[in-house]
């Protein structure tokens, strides 16, 4: 991997974390998307999307509500894919790599939430000055983003650049960890789904979790098929219940 490519990966990580545009959190934040983009950077978009999708599955359902975040999803996606492609890893090994990267936790996230507080006095001063809020974008956008850039782009650039040279050797010497990572990686979506269930698994809708499970277990339907069947099921059920409520 060239330094420039490594830098582009770092930049991607910065963009994923930047929360500049509200759409980013549902797009480049996700390994499915950023894995693909890393693939483009490294010249192998197909492998990028494959690895990204595999990593993304681990984090399906991971929700951030009220500012909390249990793991570093784009780190796993971007560094995981980048190192895997540059070291020519199999998808399994790539996953094993992404697990600890995701587990690193929300360091970046906590860091920025802490440090960004220090920029608030600047904003306050602007308000005090009462001069048409001129330059408001400096303390609310520019400075925090420059700070974020420093703590995201730089370390990931370095990790991508040097990591690609050592990751092969490293994984070789800790090969015994791979099956462990694979087991953990298999467990992780259980958490994401469990978190999401907290919000929507209640009352009458509970039974549909098991219906979906059985559909996946006993039929050949792919996720699109299940999604569409679920949509139809939901509509039919709601048609009936809203009729019942109308009849009350």
């Amino acid at each position: 991997m060239s330094l420039f490519q490594a830098f582009l990966c770092g930049l991607l990580y910065f963009l994923a974390q930047s929360n500049v545009t509200m759409v980013s959190y549902g797009t480049i934040y996700r390994p499915l998307v950023n894995g693909f983009l890393v693939g483009c950077i490294l010249g192998d978009p197909v492998k990028g999307v494959q690895i990204g999708a595999t990593i993304n599955m681990m984090f399906i359902g991971f929700i951030s509500a009220g500012g909390s975040l249990p793991s570093d999803i784009p780190m796993a996606g971007i560094l995981g894919t980048a190192l895997a492609i540059s070291a020519g890893l199999e998808i399994d090994a790539a996953l094993a790599l992404a697990v600890p990267l995701g587990l690193l936790g929300a360091f970046t996230w906590v860091g920025r939430l802490t440090v960004d507080s220090f920029f608030n006095p600047l904003t306050e001063r602007l308000i005090e000055k009462n001069d048409g809020l001129k330059g408001l974008w400096l303390p609310t956008v520019v400075i925090p983003q420059i700070f974020l850039f420093c703590i995201t782009c730089i370390p990931v650039t370095i990790a991508a650049y040097f990591g690609s040279q050592v990751v092969g050797d490293f994984l070789g010497s800790v090969a015994f960890l791979i099956p462990i990572m694979s087991v953990i990686g298999g467990l992780m979506p259980a958490l994401g789904i469990g978190i999401t269930l907290k919000f929507i698994f209640q009352g009458e809708t509970r039974v549909f979790l098991f219906l979906g499970f059985l559909l996946a277990a006993y039929t050949e339907l792919d996720m699109i098929g299940i999604g569409l069947i679920s949509l139809i099921t939901a509509i039919i059920y709601i048609q009936l219940t809203s009729k019942i409520e109308g009849a009350e």
């Binding site: 545009t21 549902g26 996700r30 197909v46 507080s117 925090p144 953990i184």
Partner: protein, 275 residues
């Protein structure tokens, strides 16, 4: 009596798009999205209070307070607050307190609905289908995902923004209470549950390596293939997920559960209970 003030279309758009682009650019523990909300309000403040420095300052100050909302539904509060500021600037009886309490009052319920159904239903469905397609290496998939997410999120945010601005807070609350909306949410809950159920089967992967020796020469009995795979494929995945759900519901932080999973993974893998 003051003249009636109306924000221009272009100012409204500037506010909306500023919110869209920078809503969390300075996310911080002190006032969360406070600075960025001020950012989004600034064009309107400048237009409405240009000739009244005291009100200008007060308006800036009252939008630089603790604020945290889910991004799409948050569009609704932005629209609503803009309408209230318009009225206040036009001399109507809209107190600072009213504006403040609308912001803090709507923050909770709107984020609740937004987080549950955007991050809890719509994202997982789009991403899950995307992942299932993506593992096969279809490069059209991430592009479609980006487009879909953008259209849906900006669409909802704009819809809420217009609703809040044109119809006011009653409209927002009525929306939350309306039969149609409740049906929509129940429907989304059913849809979400079914898809998540399928995800448990397809994405969670928990297998036991336990085997029971069947005596000399005979093949040992594998709990996984001999019991679970014949009786109920995916049983362990379902159990693991419901365990996580139970812990999270009991109040465990997700980080704590994550650590538990890591421990289970290590112990299970080393002992061979999980494989």
């Amino acid at each position: 009596m003051a003249e009636t003030k109306k924000l221009s279309k272009s100012t409204l758009n500037k506010c909306f798009w500023t919110w869209e682009w920078t809503y969390q650019a300075c996310y911080n523990y002190e006032n969360m999205q406070g600075g960025c909300f001020l950012d989004a309000m600034a064009p309107a403040i400048r237009e409405l209070y240009a000739d009244d420095p005291d009100e200008f300052k007060a308006a800036a100050a009252r939008h630089f307070e603790f604020y945290n909302i889910e991004n799409t539904t948050g569009g609704g509060v932005l629209g609503l607050v803009l309408a209230m500021e318009e009225q206040r600037a036009s001399g109507e009886d809209v107190t600072e307190e009213a504006i403040r309490s609308i912001k803090t009052g709507l923050m909770g319920p709107l984020s609740g609905v937004g987080d549950s159904y955007m991050q809890g239903v719509i994202y997982p469905i789009i991403l899950a289908i995307g992942c299932a397609q993506g593992v096969q290496g279809n490069t059209a998939v991430p592009i479609i995902v980006i487009l879909l997410q953008a259209i849906i999120q900006i669409g909802i945010a704009r819809f809420m923004f217009n609703l809040g601005y044109n119809k006011g807070s009653d409209a927002l609350l009525d929306l939350l209470e309306s039969g149609t909306f409740k049906n929509l949410l129940s429907g989304a809950g059913i849809l979400g549950c079914m898809v998540l159920g399928a995800l448990i089967m397809n994405f969670v992967s928990v297998h036991t390596g336990i085997t029971i020796p069947m005596g000399e020469g005979a093949e040992p009995f594998s709990l996984q293939t001999g019991l679970f795979d014949t009786l109920l494929p995916g049983f362990l995945s379902l159990a693991a997920t419901l365990m996580c759900y139970a812990l999270v519901s009991k109040g465990w932080s997700s980080t704590k559960v994550l650590l538990l999973l890591v421990v289970i993974g290590i112990v299970g893998s080393v002992t061979g209970i999980l494989a």
